[in-house]
């Protein structure tokens, strides 16, 4: 993958630094205000700073992963993001903490009370093929590296929680069969839907809320200090999957995509019905029993997932519906008009 197209001064500076250019961490940090934190410029900069530690970029400096200037900026941006997430989820977390008998109960209550977005119902009942393509392209930022952000936490937990998380990871990673790797199934779904399944192909087209949704996973999944939040995020993610996946599979069949598209979502109805139980009871329950101090962060992670994923789903839904007003625009999908601007 090539480094993405900058979306503003902060991402331009970070991307330039990763290419090996000059970078003034203090100046860029000062230009990263909390007010613009959730906008595409800062979120793309953070996504790029994380991505050097996943698949990397062909045109980045070979040692970009350890660029201390970028790491200094990343820490400042992460502190702002973490503070923002803690502030925006504090009511949800306080209410969850007050109820329930176990951490699994508390996460289940958070999931039950969380607001939803109309995106998956739209995909099920109304979306055109082009709108479906937009959805898949948007989700490809995560699903082509599905589960990779949740791997490092395995080394930060122990005992029954570690064993159960290893089981879940093994299932996400194909259960011993490369052709069943979930990221591979998603790539097949993309190709079947007529999309480019190259890793990172649509990064220049996705909007800020999608970047936030991806970045919180990397934030929680890259620091031992935040291991509880990584587990809580995974719990909420798995516990909000089966219903949406069932609707999306029905929509993929309705618009007549080849079977590989619905197959990815059918697999996730079945797998995530398992994962939900495993992550609530066998991972979070035992991890908190072994280390009660992480419980508040487990709730933070779960509340964050519910908050930012609904924001991303609502934003994408609104984009799809807005596109309906200006025919024959659906191929704004691939956001050619923005890439050209």
């Amino acid at each position: 993958m090539q480094l993405p197209r900058p979306r503003g001064p902060v991402s331009a500076a970070v991307i330039g630094a990763l290419r090996g250019g000059p970078f003034d961490a203090a100046a860029v940090t000062a230009a990263t205000p909390a007010a613009g934190l959730r906008e595409a410029d800062v979120q793309l900069a953070l996504w790029t700073a994380y991505e050097v530690g996943y698949r990397g970029f062909d045109d980045a400096d070979p040692d970009a992963e350890r660029d201390l200037r970028v790491l200094a900026w990343r820490k400042a941006a992460e502190d702002l993001l973490e503070a923002d997430l803690r502030a925006r989820t504090s009511t949800m977390v306080d209410e969850a903490r007050a109820g329930g008998r176990s951490v699994a109960d508390r996460i289940a209550a958070l999931v039950r009370d969380a607001p939803g977005a109309p995106l998956t119902r739209h995909l099920q009942k109304h979306a055109t093929r082009e709108q479906f393509q937009t959805y898949l392209a948007d989700r490809s930022i995560y699903h082509l590296k599905e589960t990779d952000p949740q791997v490092r936490v395995l080394g930060w937990i122990d005992g029954p929680a570690k064993v159960a998380h290893a089981e879940l990871l093994y299932d996400e990673y194909g259960g011993g069969r490369p052709e069943r790797l979930h990221s591979h199934l998603f790539a097949e779904a993309m190709r079947a839907a007529g999309l480019d399944a190259t890793y990172g192909a649509y990064i220049d087209a996705v909007d800020a809320p999608t970047l936030v949704s991806n970045n919180v996973m990397s934030l929680f999944g890259s620091q031992r200090r935040l291991r509880g939040a990584a587990l809580g995020h995974l719990a909420a993610f798995e516990a909000t999957s089966t219903d949406p996946c069932r609707r999306i599979a029905a929509g993929a069949e309705r618009v007549g995509f080849p079977d590989a598209v619905a197959a990815y979502f059918h697999e996730h109805v079945e797998a995530d019905a398992v994962h939900e139980q495993v992550v609530l009871g066998d991972i979070c329950g035992t991890a908190v029993a072994a280390d009660p101090a992480i419980e508040d962060d487990v709730l933070l992670g779960a509340a964050t997932c519910l908050l930012v994923d609904v924001e991303a789903a609502q934003a994408l839904h609104d984009l799809l519906v807005a596109d309906e007003q200006r025919p024959p625009a659906p191929l704004r999908v691939l956001r050619g008009e923005r890439a050209a601007s």
């Binding site: 019905a273 139980q277 009871g281």
Partner: protein, 80 residues
């Protein structure tokens, strides 16, 4: 229990060792989590091979993917 399935050569190696015990955990209001089984027989006696490290067997009767849980219990059930 059936013998090793041809598409899972790893099972072959295991078949001459004593099998791990099958472990079942009841999820209140939801499925049975089953570890260590090779197949699950549905109500009609049809065998469904186990292809994941853990499976969730529907215990509420409302799933659309029998014998596996598909999450429907959360919409029908008393929340315990």
């Amino acid at each position: 229990m059936t013998g090793p399935r041809p598409d899972r050569p790893d099972r072959q190696a295991r078949s001459d060792r004593p099998a791990d015990p099958v472990r079942v955990r009841l999820c209140p209001g939801g499925p049975l989590l089953v570890r260590g089984a090779q197949e699950v027989l549905d109500a009609d006696g049809v065998a469904h091979p186990v292809e994941r490290p853990v499976v969730a067997v529907c215990a509420c009767g409302a799933t659309g993917r029998a014998p596996w849980c598909d999450g429907t219990h959360a919409r029908i059930g008393p929340r315990r």
